[in-house]
Amino acid sequence: MGVAVAIDRVEKHFASLQALAGVSLQIEEGEFFGLLGPNGAGKTTLISCLAGLSRPDSGSLTVLGHDVVSDYRAARRLLGVVPQELVFDPFFSVRETLRIQSGYFGIRNNDDWIDEILANLDLGAKADTNMRRLSGGMKRRVLVAQALVHKPPVIVLDEPTAGVDVELRQGLWQFVRRLNRDGHTVILTTHYLEEAESLCGRIAMLKQGRVVALDSTANLLARFAGQTVSLRLAPPAVLPQHLAARATLVDGSCTFHLAGARDIEPLLADLRQAGCVIEDLRLTQTDLEDVFLGVMQSAGSNRSRC
């Protein structure tokens, strides 16, 4: 298997703001790759550079070996992008939109594949409806369909499930999983971390334009394996120094990461000794959200303390 997408030291500034601060990533053919990060981390900017919607200040990007600037036609033919913004052309119906999009990619008589996409995205009944008359979630599905008209080997989905109902989300993932099984490389950004956890084989986490974590989903989960204890303390809660250093603040609760259940007892003892009164306690298995928060806080300078 070759390299589907190679991103090499890409930097991008918007005036004084550094949106991408030297991002390097290599995504193999056939991967289901997650690109995660908080708002403003640079995910969309990176995707725009890959799609040729934005020009990087420095660094290079290739799609299946084709440079996105010097060999842009080949690179774009191999790439299907679902943009994050909900955009549509109000002049056309769903089917017209998809036929036109096929034509842009040099494909004529694409109706069989268009019908298949429409069926898989549950848009069959709306095929001849004008884009203006679709609900937000339906417009989002058309965006997904538009990205797939030319059967791109590399599919990039920038938050494809924002505003899409549960049933369709399931359907969409089934469809994308099938495309992935058939050999399409998939790159996904999402703020639904359960989705990323269950779909992505490998994940990169971005923060302020830098890659702060890059590993297989399994390894990331293992790195933070164990339990998370969330405690709400009765005020005035002043944690002793050595505990405060380990805690992170989430939704007003102090969260401690533990290697296993047997670490709970010493923690509680320490808290009792410090005179803290526990109002509420929750114990959860580590999931991607904990990993995400852990990575983001250790990568950032301004971690919030209890």
Binding site: S54, R77, V81, E85, V87, F88, F91, G103, Y104
Partner: protein
Amino acid sequence: MTGFRTLLYKEVLRFWKVSFQTIAAPVLTALLYLMIFSHVLEAHVQVHGIAYTAFLIPGLVMMSALQNAFANSSSSLIQSKVTGSVVFVLLPPISYGEFFLAYVVAAMLRGLMVGAGVLLVTVWFAVPAVKAPLWILAFVVLGGAIMGALGMIAGIWADKFDQLAGFQNFLIMPLTMLSGVFYSIHSLPDFWQQVSHFNPVFYMIDGFRFGFFGVSDVAPEVSLTVVGTSFALVSAATLLLLRSGYKLRS
């Protein structure tokens, strides 16, 4: 080629679906100009020995064609930029040249349709002669292409609709209105005659009118040279802009 053809088809469909505003409305405007000006001037003015109404018709045809060619590419681009749907034409593997040609040809076609419409409704008032149809075609095609390309530049440059309106009101309107549509520049004071010679639209109108009457303010070969050179310059500028990604690929 399919990419270019599809983009051209899409651009034509875009104005065709709203042809009431994009074709019928400008034809009506031109008709109103004709009725007013010919009513006022027909009895008093002859140009190159031609009755005023007959003289006016080709000018109105060309002016409408030019203004609408400009309106087509500029409004299509600004609309898709403002709504964000411009990504649909930026993501596919369409080359700069194809992109340029599709917008320019669509703009020219709208100009031709509006021009033909104006001719059709004004021909009831006076039938202009057709002395040299090839000149007519050459000037309307080149003129439409120049305006289509200028419209692309304006549409790419403008971030908001009012900026585009400014471009239209302060550049395109004066250039087209003061180009000898309503008069022969020989009737102007010397100074304004000289100024008119720096207006490329003057040569488009003058050459176009030569195709009808076989007479013009300057020789049609001169006009064609000026118009052809303008086309080459504006096209080169537009292609450079597209290649640089200016405002389209930030």
